[in-house]
Symmetry: C2
Subunit: 396 residues, 2 copies
C-alpha cells in the first residue's frame, strides 16, 4: 500500500498543518513592529501554555540549549548541585553540570524506573544550590514526580530546574504553586512544530540567583534575553519562521480549549494520557512488556521487544511497511525497545492505527502468538471506558 510519512517519535513529533503553513508564509524581518507583535503574543501565550506567571524566555536552540542555559545562569563553578537521573536525559544534566565545574551529587534509579523521594530527601544537603531533573525521561518512557521533589525543597534556598521538554503538554504541572524555578520546553514536542526553539519559564528566585552566577556565558545569557523580551525583541536573530509556526500552534491549542489556552493545554495533556493508555493496553494485549510499567509517561510509551528480538527489526518494519517512524531505544537501550510517542498532534485514528500496525507486524513475526484484533480491542475498550466516564461526569 501507499505509505505516508508519519512521525510517532517523541520529538520531532507530527507537525500541525496550520503551523506548517504559518511557517511557510513567514516572510518577515525581526526588527519590525509586525514581528515584535508576534513575538510578544507568543511569549504571553507561552506563559499560559506553561501555566506560570513567570517570564518565559524563547531562544533559537534545541532543548539542550535551554538546559545548558539553566546550568550556566544558575550556578557558579564549584557549586553543589543534585541531579536526579534515570536515563539518557538525566545523564545529560550530569554532563552539563560537569562541563560547568559543579560539584555533583546524584540520585539515580535504574532505566525504566523513577527515584524514590526518600532517596532524594537523603541526598539533599544544606549547600545544594540547584536540583536538576526531568519531568519525563524520554529515553525510558518513565514519568518523575516533579511535585514530590518540589515539596521537598519548600522553605529551602535550593532551586528546582525541570527539563519538561517532553513533559509539557503531557503532564499537569502547577509550576508556580509547586515552586519550579526553571521549567524547560522545546518546539518539536507537544507544540507540534519542527525543532529549533527552546523556551523556559524562570522564577523571581532564579532571576535573583543569576546575579551571583560566575559562569561564562554569552548567547545563553538569560538576563540579556529578558531585557530584550521586555521590548518585544530577542537579543540575537530569532528563528522567525519557527516563531510564526509556534504562534499558529498556540492558536490551535487555544481553539482546542474552545478559546481558552489554559484549557487547551489540559485538553492536550488529557489527549496524550488517553493515547498512551490505549497504546499500553494494546501492547500488553499482545503480551509485550512495558519498559516503565510503574510510572509510565504520557509523552511516550517504551515497549520492550519480545525475548531476543532486536527492536531495530520492528522499527524497520514500521518504516518500510507502514511509513511510520517509531523510535528505537537510546544508547545501550538500542535494540531492546520501541518507543511510540503521544505528545502533541495525535488523535484516535493515529493511535488506534499504530496499535493495529504493531499487531500486524507482531502477527507476521510471531503468527502462533497473535490473534488479530486483540490489541486493537484492548485499545478500543480503553477509549470506550473514557467516553463512558466523560458521559458520567456530564450527567452527574
Amino acid at each position: 500500500m501507499l505509505r505516508k510519512n508519519r512521525l510517532y517519535t517523541p520529538g520531532p513529533t507530527q507537525l500541525l498543518p496550520a503551523a506548517q503553513f504559518a511557517m511557510a508564509a513567514a516572510n518577515v524581518h525581526h526588527r519590525t513592529a509586525d514581528f515584535r507583535a508576534l513575538y510578544q503574543r507568543v511569549l504571553a501565550d507561552l506563559k499560559v501554555f506553561v501555566g506560570t506567571q513567570n517570564d518565559v524566555i524563547l531562544m533559537a536552540a534545541s532543548g539542550t540549549g535551554a538546559m545548558e542555559a539553566s546550568v550556566a545562569n544558575l550556578t557558579s563553578p564549584g557549586d553543589r548541585v543534585l541531579v536526579l537521573t534515570a536515563g539518557k536525559f538525566g545523564e545529560r544534566w550530569t554532563a552539563l553540570a560537569k562541563a560547568y565545574g559543579c560539584t555533583i551529587d546524584e540520585v539515580s534509579a535504574p532505566y525504566g524506573e523513577t527515584f524514590s523521594l526518600e532517596a532524594v530527601r537523603s541526598a539533599l544537603k544544606p549547600d545544594t544550590r540547584v536540583v536538576f531533573m526531568q519531568g519525563t525521561e524520554t529515553s525510558t518512557g518513565a514519568r518523575h514526580d516533579v511535585k514530590g521533589v518540589a515539596q521537598l525543597l519548600k522553605g529551602t534556598d535550593t532551586l528546582l530546574v525541570v527539563d519538561a521538554i517532553t513533559g509539557l503538554g503531557t503532564t499537569h504541572f502547577d509550576v508556580d504553586a509547586w515552586g519550579v524555578d526553571i521549567i524547560i520546553g522545546g518546539s518539536q514536542k507537544a507544540v507540534m512544530i519542527p525543532p529549533g526553539l527552546a523556551f523556559c519559564a524562570v522564577s523571581e528566585r532564579a532571576w535573583k540567583r543569576m546575579e551571583t552566577s560566575k559562569q561564562p556565558k554569552y548567547y545563553f545569557d538569560l538576563r540579556k534575553e529578558r531585557k530584550s523580551a521586555a521590548k518585544g525583541e530577542s537579543a540575537y536573530t530569532p528563528a522567525t519562521a519557527l516563531i510564526a509556526a509556534l504562534g499558529a500552534a498556540l492558536d490551535y491549542i487555544r481553539e482546542s480549549g474552545k478559546g481558552d489556552l489554559a484549557k487547551g493545554r489540559e485538553v492536550l495533556v488529557n489527549n496524550a494520557e488517553l493515547a498512551a493508555e490505549m497504546t499500553r493496553a494494546g501492547a500488553e494485549a499482545l503480551g509485550l512488556k512495558l519498559f516503565a510499567p510503574h510510572a509510565p509517561a504520557a509523552a511516550v510509551s517504551a515497549i520492550l521487544s519480545p525475548g531476543g528480538m532486536d527492536s531495530s527489526e520492528l522499527v524497520k518494519r514500521f518504516r518500510d511497511e507502514f511509513g511510520a517512524v517509531v523510535a528505537n531505544g537510546q544508547g545501550e537501550m538500542k535494540g531492546k525497545m520501541i518507543r511510540i510517542a503521544h505528545l502533541g498532534y495525535y488523535d484516535y485514528l493515529d493511535t488506534i492505527a499504530i496499535v493495529a500496525a504493531l499487531e500486524q507486524i507482531m502477527a507476521e513475526l510471531q503468527p502462533e502468538k497473535v490473534k488479530f484484533g486483540n490489541a486493537v480491542r484492548a485499545a478500543q475498550q480503553v477509549y470506550a471506558a473514557s467516553r463512558a466516564e466523560k458521559r458520567a461526569l456530564v450527567t452527574a
Copy 2:
C-alpha cells in the same frame, strides 16, 4: 481526544501535502515560458496517468464540465444516444443529453447494481451515436464493466464516453485497446488535489466526430483547447495553482512507481483495491451490509446503516467524535448509507483507523451486537493475505 480533519469522502479526497505546498508556491503568470513548460509536462503526464496515446485536454471546471463538454462536442440536437445509468451520476448523463436535445435511450439498473451487457446490447441501435456511462457510480459504490461495453461497440460508429472521475486511479483501464473515445477525470479524486480541474482524453474518432457537431459551445469547445494545448497553453485562463498541484501529484504517483508513472498508476489502483477490500471485510464483520455487493468499486465503499438507523447519525458521529468526514447517501439514498472513500491518498493506517472508528461508533450504538476488535481483525486478515500473496509472487 484531538480531532484531525480527515476527508474519507469520494471527492474531495485527502490532499497530498507535496501538492498543497506546490499549490501555495505557485506564483506564476500563465502566458510565460515557465508556465508553458509546466502545462506541457502536466498534459504529457496525464496521458500516462490515464494510460492513453490520445490527446488529453485539461480545463478549469468540475468533472461535470468535462461531461458537458463531451455531450456538447460529440452530439448534435436530435442525435440518438444511449445512457447507461444506475445512480445519480448516470442520471446526470441523461440530464445533460436532455439539455442538449438528444434523443435518449436508457439502460438502467437498480441503485447498487450494474446493468447487464445483454441489456446494453439490446438497447444499441444502428443510429446510436454515443454511449455515455460511468466507470464507477460514486453514488452507490458500484463498478461498471467498461471493457464489456467497449467490446459491444467494436466495429460500429458508436462512440463510448466514460465518466471515470472516480474510476481513474481505482480501476485498471486499457483506454486505447478497448476503444474508449472520451474518458473523463477530475482533480479532487485519485490525484489527491482540490476540486477545480477536469480532464479528458479524446480519441481520433472523437475529434473527427466533433467536426460535425452542431451544438452551441464556447468555453467547452474541446477543439479550441486542443489547438491551444499544442502550443503549450490553455484557451482561457488556466487554474495555475491547481495545475502546479497536479504536477506535484503526478510526480508523487511517479515516485510510487519507482520512477515509472504508468507503474505508479497501477500502485494507486492496487492500493485502492486493497483499502476497499479491507473496509468491506470490516463492515461485514460488524454485520453491516454493502450497498453494492455484486460489483463493488475500489473508489468508495457504500455501507448500509443497520435497520432503521438514519445514516446521518453515523456521519455526524464520525465527524464529531473522530474528525473524519465520510459521505452520506446522495439524493433519495441519503440517510440510508455511509460512503467511505479509498481513492487517492489513503494508506494502511488511514484504512485500519476508519474501520476501528466505525467499530467504535457501532459499539456505542449497538453494544449488544459489537465485540471490539472483530472488524479490525477482518481488515487485518485481508491485509495479511495480500502480503502473503505478494511474498508468494516474489518467491515464485
